[in-house]
């Protein structure tokens, strides 16, 4: 398996910068997800790695070799496309055969690989079918199969699940995860869906407007988002951000105050305008009375089965809370909430950067 | 009865024409259209139609079309109930089909009545006979035609060429009297670029001969039939009225044309009348036989380059050996649509008389426009003969001339033989007898459905009744 290194990678379309100065290491066998909203440059980055787009500046190394000027076929990669990119006039078997053609393998080897791949993907019984006779999920498996038969060093996925319905998406996601664990191939995976990123990635690369916002394991980006973009992009529902000012080791929001959490106490200067990041799951129902418990009114409730989302007002602040459904109050109820102080995040209100010391 | 009006009109016209002022013009308000050809028999007259309107009040519009396809337009016009053309240009071979269909107005009585005015006695009889069907005159000649040979007089008279010819063929270089000589001359004058011709080094190939070999509108038959006739051939069997164009004279004519191929331009299969005559007009061939209606261009430097670079000589058509002069005639004529109204017919006849009159013809000749004349007195005029050296040939050769084909199935003959002969000349068929017989069979299949009496009537050529008065 090959590692991928992107160094100062830039993609320019005429005057527009699509990708700014990307630096990224993908270890051999690692599953890295490029995550971001549409237009963030993630697909462009992937296509540059694939060789489908020219590199404007910077270098791409695949397996230690400078790949900038290598033809796609010489990069030892395979790619799975959003809309499968199957050859509509060929059967499943022929699709795989066509992918193997340039390798000039002997007949027996071709058959062995196709049989093996079909088995792994559960496509055995569909080998003689054409893509039009398959479901979306099956088609995507064929697309993966076509990539797999070539036993490439690197797998590139371009939003492979976007065209599938929600149920299938989960299933195929599992399958991709399973395949990666089983085959251990280096994988670069583009998606705008954080669930895919969280569930599949060894490492998530969060991108916005052509730049990397944060690189980290799923846990790192969830627990220690480097800035408010990452903080609100990762996690559903999004993190609540409450404006506040630090003073006297406290955080003063408009209508309530919190003690400054321990980990920020030493390096957040007095008078700094900050944003308090509170994940909805870190807001708990509480009895009235003790310190750091706040009165809240319930404006709305979304029942999700296990959990419920509450649309709260604490003073004039709007907060979304996620609580066990069984505990949910009535709409318009006056309740009390507390925050899980250990999980609070603080961001500089001006720069949006996390105030957590690294 | 019908002609009473016309007679009156004619009288009025002659008064008007003689210059006596008459209160109003006879044909005021009448509009005539002619379905015509874009060739000398029409182009000379077309610019003058305003004069006719001046004279008579009748407006005449002449639409000019190329020869190929013209008969199609005339046939469609003839089959229409309300015609848009009152005047029709008629090539004499069409007289059969148009006559048998009743498409043309019978001009016999008019011609007899106005014999003096139209100088009937001065017109070469065969040119009138050409326009008859079953003895009745259906069209009036606007241009006479004979088929004859044109040769490069300047080349024929060049001493080097004469000596070389004599040395090679053993007789003098003079206009051919038979086809063997014609072929010799064609061969003799065929030179490639770089060779010398009459003392000059040639810049491009020079072709000894140019004949029509194209199948388009049967062009090849227009050269083939005269040669066939010059061998004594006939179109039809006089007993059965069926095709006789596959006999010995036809075979010999085919042979002549086939042997001439190698001395013709490389595009010989595409040579139509005008393309073929173009070679003579541009001075690019030595001998070329064709209809005099195109010959008349050769004396006009504006129409024929050759008038500036050499001199053309004119002679009767060569013949098969020992066969007396059987020159082919034809006539290019004006006829009246039988479906025109009586008023229109009157005006049309007046127009024909005006446009084909001896005065008009003399005027053309004097103004320098060559026309293939058909009035004896014009052809015999010494001054004009001087100017138009071919007049003597036209005059001489019409004495014993034979009429062209005039059968109602002429279009079939022209097309079937056109394709068959063109195919043979192209080398696509080997056996000329088979080619001719197959063509004859095609014609006969169409004729055999008719009784023999009818077939014989169709080939009969009783003398024109205009002559019996």
């Amino acid at each position: 398996m090959s590692a991928i290194i992107l160094r100062n990678l830039v993609k320019r379309y005429e005057a527009d910068m699509a990708v700014h100065d990307i630096n990224l290491n993908v270890e051999a066998g690692e599953f890295v997800v490029l995550l971001g909203p549409s237009g963030c440059g993630k697909t462009t980055t992937l296509r540059m790695v694939a060789g489908l787009e020219d590199v404007s500046e910077g270098e791409i190394y695949i397996g230690g070799e400078l790949a900038n000027d290598l033809a796609p076929k010489d990069r030892g990669i395979a790619m799975v496309f959003q809309n499968y990119a199957l050859y509509p006039h060929m059967t499943v078997r022929q699709n795989m055969e066509f992918a193997l053609r340039p390798l000039r393998l002997d007949r027996a080897e071709v058959n062995r690989r196709i049989t093996e791949t079909a088995e792994i993907l559960g496509l055995d019984e569909y080998l003689a079918r054409r893509p039009s006779q398959l479901s979306g999920g099956q088609r995507q498996r064929v697309a993966m199969g076509r990539a797999m038969v070539r036993t490439p060093e690197v797998f590139l996925f371009d939003e492979p699940l976007s065209n599938l319905d929600a149920k299938l998406r989960t299933k195929v996601r599992w399958e991709i995860g399973y395949l990666h664990r089983r085959l251990g191939m280096t994988t670069l995976y583009v998606t705008h869906d954080q669930t895919e990123a969280m569930t599949l990635a060894d490492k998530i690369v969060i991108m916005r407007q052509g730049r990397i916002e944060q690189v980290g394991t799923p846990e790192e980006v969830f627990v220690r988002p480097r800035n408010t973009f990452v903080a609100t992009f990762i996690g559903t529902p999004a993190m609540n951000l409450v404006p506040a000012v630090s003073a006297d080791a406290n955080l003063h929001a408009k209508d309530f105050s919190l003690p400054m959490p321990q980990k920020f106490r030493n390096h957040v200067p007095e008078g700094l305008e900050v944003l308090i990041g509170i994940r909805p799951s870190n807001i708990n129902l509480a009895d009235s009375g003790p310190a750091n418990v706040f009165a809240a009114s319930v404006r709305g409730i979304e029942y999700l089965g296990t959990d419920a989302l509450l649309d709260l007002r604490v003073g004039s602040e709007e907060l979304v809370a996620e609580i066990p459904a069984i505990l949910r109050p009535e709409v318009d109820a006056q309740i009390h909430v507390s925050f899980d102080m250990q999980s609070l995040q603080l961001f500089d209100a001006k720069t949006g950067q996390s105030l957590e010391s690294i | 009865m019908k002609y009473a009006n016309i007679a009156l009109a004619a009288a009025a016209l002659s008064v008007a024409a003689s210059g006596a002022a008459l209160g109003q013009k006879q044909f005021e308000g009448i509009e005539l259209k002619m379905l015509g050809i874009g060739d000398t028999s029409v182009t000379r007259l077309a610019p003058l139609v305003d004069e006719f309107e001046e004279l008579t009040g009748a407006k005449v519009q002449i639409d000019q079309f190329p020869y190929p396809g013209l008969i199609d337009k005339i046939v469609i016009e003839a089959s229409a109930d309300t015609p848009s053309y009152q005047l029709m240009w008629v090539d004499s071979p069409w007289v059969g089909v148009l006559g048998e269909s009743g498409a043309l107005e019978d001009l016999t009585d008019l011609a007899i009545r106005d014999a003096e005015e139209i100088n009937l006695d001065d017109i070469i009889p065969i040119q009138l006979q050409e326009n008859t069907w079953q003895g009745r005159l259906l069209a009036f000649p606007a241009s006479g035609m004979i088929w004859h040979q044109n040769y490069r007089k300047d080349l024929f008279e060049h001493p080097d060429e004469q000596a070389a010819f004599k040395a090679k063929y053993g007789y003098d270089l003079e206009p051919a009297t038979n086809w063997e000589q014609y072929i010799d001359q064609a061969e003799f004058f065929t030179r490639t670029a770089g060779e010398v011709l009459a003392g000059n080094v040639l810049e491009k190939d020079f072709h000894g001969n140019a004949q029509a070999y194209s199948r388009v509108a049967g062009a090849i038959t227009h050269d083939f039939f005269p040669i066939m006739r010059s061998y004594g051939g006939q179109y039809w069997d006089s007993e059965t009225g069926l095709c006789a164009m596959d006999r010995e004279p036809s075979l010999r004519a085919v042979d002549v044309m086939k042997r001439l191929v190698q001395f013709n331009p490389p595009d010989y299969l595409g040579l139509m009348w005008d393309i073929r005559t173009g070679y003579m007009e541009r001075g690019e061939t030595a001998v070329s036989s064709y209809w005099s209606v195109r010959t008349v261009r050769l004396t006009n430097p504006e129409e024929a380059l050759v008038a500036g670079i050499g001199e053309v000589g004119y002679a009767a058509s060569p013949t098969g050996e020992d066969i007396p002069q059987p020159t082919m005639t034809g006539a290019l004529s004006f006829g009246i649509n039988s479906k025109a109204t009586d008023d229109e017919k009157e005006a049309a006849w007046a127009f024909i008389k005006w446009g084909t009159s001896r005065e008009m013809m003399r005027r053309f000749a004097e103004e320098g426009n060559g026309v293939s004349m058909f009035h004896r007195s014009i052809l015999m005029d010494p001054d004009l003969q001087e100017r138009y050296p071919y007049y003597q040939v036209l005059l001489d050769t019409q004495e014993h001339a034979q009429r062209r084909i005039f059968h109602p199935f002429y279009a079939d003959v022209e097309e079937v033989f056109g394709v068959a002969l063109n195919k043979y000349m192209a080398g696509e068929a080997d056996d000329p007898q088979a080619v001719l017989t197959e063509a004859c069979n095609k014609i006969n299949t169409r004729l055999k459905v008719f009784p023999v009496e009818l077939r014989l009537r169709w080939i009969a050529d009783p003398p024109a009744e205009i002559f019996s008065n």
Binding site: H89, A99 | V97, P265, P266, L271, A411, N422
Partner: protein, 295 residues
């Protein structure tokens, strides 16, 4: 519901009637009349030839005539030549012009010009080029010391001369169809094939061609029908000659109808020609269905 439907049907009729009337007057009635004529002897030029019912005689004459068979052979020969060259050239140029390069739209438009010219004018243009002795083509050949080619006056060249003119006019049609079909294809399979390492030629042959095949079949079908009716260019250039080298079916029908004026035979020949076209259509739809089943 029922009310709406009857009303709709009435409106339907109001819109339909004029179209049907035009169709009847311009197509159906003439066709019926031609069918009637094809069983009759009818000489337009010679009213004195009996105009009578002749049964199948006209058809028998055509189908047993070597001349007609010859025109069929020439027609198919021309069809095979023009269609195959138009297919190869049209697809080739179509692929080139389908590239999204600057200025390609203009190139495509320019290439379409021959198609927009009336066939008679196309014939005349090529007549100037082919004209014996005086034609431009031979003039240009003479500049490079190639001796004159008897383009339209040789039995071997004439059919090619006509084919070239037709190819010149109609290759853009195939080109346009091909370019449009290629534009409608999604780009991903190409990228997948590129990544897999297939050569451009293999991609073209195994990915592009099979996907645009239904379009190509349609284009070829339309061209085949046109080739079957090819007339104008031949009429201007050779009129079927030299000899009978370029005598196609339409020329045969024309000659029977408007040279010999045997309208009955001409009508019968038209119907035979129609029958052949119908067979062609059937064959086409079958093969189209087959090729679409596979997608």
């Amino acid at each position: 519901m029922a009310y709406g439907r009857t009303r709709n049907r009435k409106i339907f009729l109001i819109f339909l009637v004029p179209a049907i009337a035009v169709l009847f007057l311009t197509t159906i009635y003439p066709m019926i009349y031609a069918g009637y004529l094809s069983f009759r002897s009818y000489d337009l030029a010679k009213p004195f030839v009996p105009r009578v019912f002749v049964g199948w005689a006209n058809y028998r004459e055509i189908l047993t005539s070597s001349e007609f068979m010859h025109t069929l052979i020439v027609t198919f020969k021309l069809m095979v030549i023009t269609l195959s060259v138009q297919l190869v050239l049209g697809v080739g140029i179509g692929v080139l012009t389908a590239q999204r390069l600057p200025g390609m739209a203009l190139v495509r438009t320019l290439l379409l010009i021959p198609m927009m010219i009336s066939p008679v004018i196309v014939g005349l243009i090529w007549l100037f080029l082919y004209f014996p002795e005086l034609g431009y083509l031979n003039y240009f050949l003479s500049l490079v010391s190639i001796s004159a080619v008897p383009w339209i006056t040789s039995t071997t060249w004439a059919i090619w001369a006509i084919a070239i003119a037709d190819i010149w006019q109609w290759t853009p049609f195939v080109m346009m169809g091909t370019a449009a079909a290629i534009h409608s294809l999604s780009p991903e399979p190409y990228e997948a094939a590129m990544i897999d390492g297939n050569s451009r030629w293999q991609i073209f042959w195994h990915v592009t061609i099979p996907q645009i095949k239904p379009v190509l079949i349609s284009l070829m079908f339309l061209r085949a029908i046109d080739a079957f009716k090819l007339y104008d260019i031949i009429f201007v250039l050779t009129k079927g000659g030299p000899g009978d080298a370029t005598e196609v079916l339409s020329m045969f029908i024309y000659r029977q109808s408007f040279t010999f004026w045997r309208m009955g035979v001409g009508a019968a020949a038209s119907f035979v020609s129609l029958a052949i076209v119908v067979v062609l259509i059937t064959f086409f739809f079958k093969s189209l269905n087959r090729s679409q089943e596979r997608i």
